[in-house]
Amino acid sequence: MQEILQYLFSGLTNGAIYAVIALGFSMLYSSTELINFAHGEFVMLGALCMVTLAVNLGFPLIPAFFLSICAVAAAGLLFERLAIRPVRHPEPIVLIIITVGASIFLRGVGMLIWGKDAHSMPPFSQHPPLDVAGARLLIQSIWILIIVAALTAALQMFYRRTLTGKAMTACAVSKKAAWIVGIPTKWMVMLAFGLSTGMGAVAGAIIAPITMSSYDMGTMLGLKGFCAAMLGGLGSLWGAILGGFLLGILEALGVGYISSGLKDATAFVLLLLVLYVRPQGIIGAGEVKRF
């Protein structure tokens, strides 16, 4: 019981992170039909920015957090402007290679700035772990869950309540129709990039205290976040959240009861299962075009 709880806590924590990364993927996909293979690298940038600002430059947490996000989102916008917008025939294969190129580039940049060493930072608040029925729950985990919940609520509000959010949904449904009713799709694409990469930065910033951050941390995180997004249903907000937590928890249980070596395989086995059985994802909306 105590053991299971311990796995569950670790699963929830990782799950929350995967969920945020998945949200970034999903959001971008739904408004641009693009899968950004460099997304994981934006997570890495978020984490390393956070470490630099909070530890090396001694910024207080909250400004450090928001500054990292803004900096990474700015990088995301730059990426869209310089590498995505000039593409004349945006076919999947071309975009895959461009974003993979971007991921290598960003990893290189990360290595130039932060070196090959791993960096760490203290948790957001200094409290001893909570003891829940014998299992240890890190305070940072609680922070992560709170931040993810707040982020989800804010996004939900944004999509449902604000005009811009609704416009983005319209773009997701049909670019052409959106253009006809006068929604500036170019701005919507930029907004989607900014939000998506910013979301990546959030994921990076909140795990920085519980992991060692280094220039090459992004690839696996990105791929797993992507699996989570597919699992829940690419393009759906709640799908990303569900997929993230499901992946986190199953992975933790897998580590506990099967083998820690196969931990990384969980995500991809789930990915294949969902693709074979239900490509639109667990709560993906109805019929999905398989292109």
């Binding site: 899968i35 590498a83 000039p86 593409v87 004349r88 025939h89 076919e91 999947p92 294969i93 071309v94 895959i96 290679i97 461009i98 993979v100 190129g101 971007a102 991921s103 290598i104 580039f105 960003l106 990893r107 290189g108 940049v109 290595m111 130039l112 690839t219 791929l223 992507f226 699996c227 597919m230 083998s259 070596g261 196969l262 990384d264 395989a265 991809f268 086995v269 990915l271 294949l272 693709l275 074979y276 490509p279 398989r290 292109f291």
Partner: protein, 317 residues
């Protein structure tokens, strides 16, 4: 290109290989050219699937790895002669491709990309974690050199000729397939799956066939790789390796067998040149990838032809 042009191209190609193999004595250059050959095999095999049939694979390195590991395990652990390990290595990869292909090839576009990516990751993780058989993350050592009859392919030169002979054979083989009824049907799937079915092409079966074929060829490259370096580790067959193969195909030019050769050469040589940039290597590599795709999305062979055609049109006016 017509038949005759191809024959001339093959002859020129064979001549170049013989000249290079004869003249070059530097072990480093020989090794580099052998790697170009192996990468050409990989690019060619993926090009059949991706360039001609239009089916993306982001997990092609898995078959390369299966080929390498099957021969490594058979020849080292079980002392099987390499010549006998070859059909086993290629056959295993083809069998795996067949099993995985049935559910995966129902997908298309990004979803197919993701399915193959997931498969590639799983194979990579299995190679890394199944240490009792594969040697795990630290790799598999002690693979014997390739012996065929009395000839031992150990020196750089021998291996050079072997690899490039195989490349030439594979080039001819792929060319023949592409120019045949099967190849036309493959290309028709690329252009429009609905229309291909409507003229009577069994698209499901054909996609599976080309997937299996391409897996077999990648495994052949893996076999040659294992007996070249005597030591293999899972890192060589990771997601990054799969992406590198895709990049070779796309940069060289999709649906072009000579493009595969070009892409493989560039992508093998590029890191060597980039060593000069030392820590800027990754940055420059990433920039080149993005740049080529933004400005020449149809790859170098097509891209250069396009630019030339535009130039000619402008001057005709």
């Amino acid at each position: 290109m017509n038949d005759k042009a191809h024959k001339i191209a093959y002859a020129v190609f064979a001549l170049a290989v013989i000249l290079l193999g004869w003249q070059v004595d530097n072990q480093y250059y020989l090794q580099l050219m052998i790697f170009i050959g192996l990468n050409t095999l990989l690019a060619l095999s993926l090009n059949m699937l991706m360039g001609y049939a239009g089916q993306i694979s982001l997990g092609h390195a898995a078959f390369y790895g299966i080929g390498a590991y099957v021969t490594a395990i058979l020849t080292t652990t079980y002392q099987v002669a390499p010549v006998l390990a070859l059909p086993a290595a290629v056959g295993t990869a083809m069998l795996v491709a067949w099993i995985v292909g049935i559910p995966t090839l129902r997908l298309s576009g990004y979803y197919l990309g993701m399915g193959t990516l997931g498969f590639g990751m799983i194979v990579h993780i299995v190679l890394r974690e199944w240490s009792s058989v594969t040697g795990g993350a630290s790799g598999f050592v002690g693979i014997p050199p390739l012996e065929i009859g009395l000839v031992v392919f150990a020196s750089g030169k021998n291996y050079f000729f072997l690899v490039w002979a195989v490349v030439l054979l594979c080039l001819i083989m792929c060319r023949r397939i592409i120019d045949s009824r099967v190849g036309r049907a493959l290309r028709s799937i690329h252009d429009g799956e609905k229309a291909a079915a409507a003229v009577g092409v069994d698209t499901k079966k054909l996609k599976l066939q080309v997937f299996v074929f391409s897996a077999g060829m990648a495994a052949l490259a893996g076999f040659l790789y294992a007996h070249l370096v005597y030591f293999i580790s899972p890192g060589t067959f990771s997601f990054v390796a799969s992406i590198r193969i895709v990049t070779m195909v796309v940069i060289g030019g999709m649906a072009s067998i000579w493009g595969a050769l070009l892409g493989a050469s560039l992508l093998t040589l590029l890191p060597e040149w980039l060593h000069a940039f030392s820590e800027f290597e990754m940055v420059v590599y990433g920039l080149i990838l993005m740049g080529v795709m933004i400005f020449l999305p149809r790859g170098l062979t097509r891209g250069v032809l396009d630019v030339y055609e535009r130039y000619r049109k402008n001057h005709d006016r």
